[in-house]
Assembly symmetry: C2
Homo-oligomer: 361 residues x 2
């Protein structure tokens, strides 16, 4: 993604909201939002967008990098972050400042509160959390590329999922293949969970060996130019019982129905309900212990949230996952996940591994 | 590490502090602290240690895992974290609660504040941040093993650092080797920064090819049983100028002098001063733009901080890095880092790659 193409436009979008939000400026602390708004890829610092100017403040480690990466901001070095914030605000004599409350620790907040006792600090998080939800065309291209790399890698290593190989070795082979194909870093720690481990939705790959009759849940993704992919395949090894086959189909159908409903304007709660209802009809809803999906982008979990409590609505250009699952404690689990871009009348699926039940021999 | 061996003793150590801290209990939010105290390795949840009991609260994804991993706590499932905290505190009619303010977002804090307006929420962070600083023997063994895996991996792939290979490919080969040797996950994103990139202390490995005459800064680490390693080697490729050779020696000597001073009871500020003074005498202190080191353990950065502003003192059993560096903008940079365990009269070095100037051909 050409960062300089969009950073001015993205900053302007924030600047235009200051009056409506009744603040003189907004402090950003989330490094992904800072990257989105400025192009800066360092791991620490903060950004101020306000009437008095745009300032990116970083510590000594990042001054050179910030000057290379960022063109639309004044770059200032600080020694201590709280000092840096306090000085910026008092030097410019500002009195009402919005801040990204979801990305600030309570500790730093209380220190700032103490230092700036004549300044109103207005927590903004919902207003800000959604700024990255709708992706532009360059972003969609990056995520599409990340998804393609990941899916291709899994298909190339699928035949390694055999009795006798350890979960962690499958993860390692898959991760190496994703990087070999151009992936930057892992989108998250790869999950390879087999047999009874597959009943843990977030298991870590361990030294358990794959056995005949196992379900193997592989939840994996890679980062391309900062953008994440996310996909889950559940593969059967050697043989499946009738019960496993039926349950797989229930999860797959829940996934397909939710996917079919995705389009601009629908509520995220409705998408979750469609998946959950299908699993409920099969009497398995108590084993579907998480939400149906989430946005993906510069972070692996972004706005919107697709769950029974979500207040979000889908909009064209959002990239989301659809990932229902059923986990029978101590026996086995199944999750089927695709990543899609929301369109006016439907969606485009970005992850490309087929989701019918695959049995490796 | 056998988690069940120590979790009772560690929780008891916290419980014994409640009276002195004048709270009825403490809410923990940092997942590494929760792992340290209970053995739970999930990625979300919170822990309450109080007079009324020990409670680990997790969402639906983690109930089964928590029951498998944790023996010393009551395990409770929540749907919403703020609801879960509020109910726990009000059900037990508690009025003064300490909480881990460095690990709670301001957003959640403000929601809790709002829900629990008759409860005093006492921010505790310095009291808590140091609980993991002194490692027990099992922890030291894990970190020693992580360091040994990492150092061995680098030595096995050292001869790949050749003109023509890309930075990211060196990172990939090194990462695969560390995992092959038994490493769990990367301790952090590997840095392989060559030539002008080496002047950026936190550069990401890119598609730049290694060239003759480059310094290549390799900052890398692996996780073993949850515990991190951290080491940096700066390797010269093909040839070095007299200036590069001299500057390497200055950084190496600063590193050695700081290392020689490490022992129980010394202030972290003094360690930083020793390294910084040596670099200052060479007229290069403006290019040493970060602290001298940090604690390492379940996280890559832990208490203590070794910098000119640190208030910490070294104590036997702490594991720290010593990592001075000099970065000449747009030209090249050098960092030399070892990880050591503090002892009564000195330290034991855990990272094992020799730190004299190595030139690969």
């Amino acid at each position: 993604m050409n960062k300089t193409t969009n950073s001015g436009e993205r900053i302007a979008r924030i600047s235009s909201k200051l009056t409506a939000l009744r603040v003189e400026g907004i402090l950003f602390f989330d490094m992904k939002n800072i990257r989105y708004l400025t192009g800066f890829t360092g791991s620490d610092g903060f950004l101020f967008i306000g009437e008095k100017g745009i300032f990116l403040l970083v510590d000594g480690r990042y001054v050179t990098q910030a000057k290379q990466e960022v063109t639309d901001c004044n770059i200032i070095e600080y020694r201590d972050k709280v000092d840096g914030i306090a000085m910026l605000i008092s030097d410019h004599n500002m009195k009402v400042i919005g801040f990204e409350s979801s990305a600030l620790t309570c500790d730093t907040y209380l220190k700032l509160r103490n230092r700036l006792n004549d300044v109103t600090l207005e927590p903004l998080s919902e207003e800000i959390n959604s700024i990255r939800a709708i992706k532009d065309i360059q972003e969609i291209d990056c995520i599409k590329k990340a998804a393609a790399i990941a899916s291709q890698a899994l298909q190339l290593v699928m035949n390694s999922i055999q009795p006798g190989i350890r979960e962690r070795d499958i993860a390692l082979i898959l991760e190496s293949k994703m990087k070999e194909l151009g992936g930057e870093t892992l989108a998250f720690e790869t999950i390879v969970a087999s047999g009874y481990n597959s009943a843990l939705p977030h298991a870590k790959p361990g030294s358990k060996e794959i056995e005949n009759g196992d379900f193997v849940v592989v939840d994996y993704g890679i980062v391309y130019q900062g953008y994440h992919s996310d996909e889950t395949c559940t593969v059967a090894v050697g043989s499946v019982t009738q019960k496993q086959r039926e349950t797989y189909q229930i999860v797959k159908d829940a996934h397909d129905r939710a996917l079919d409903a995705v389009k601009d304007g629908i509520s995220c709660r409705e998408i979750d309900r469609i998946a959950r209802d299908h699993i409920e009809k099969a009497g398995l809803v108590q084993y579907f212990s998480h939400g149906t999906g989430h946005g993906v982008g510069l972070e692996i979990h972004e706005t919107p949230t697709i769950s029974s409590k979500s207040a979000d609505y889908l909009t064209s250009g959002m990239i989301i996952t659809i990932e229902p699952g059923v986990y029978i404690p101590n026996l086995w689990g199944i999750r089927v996940e695709d990543m899609v871009v929301v369109e006016r009348d439907g969606c485009e699926i970005l992850s490309t591994v087929p989701k019918h039940l695959q049995i490796t021999y």
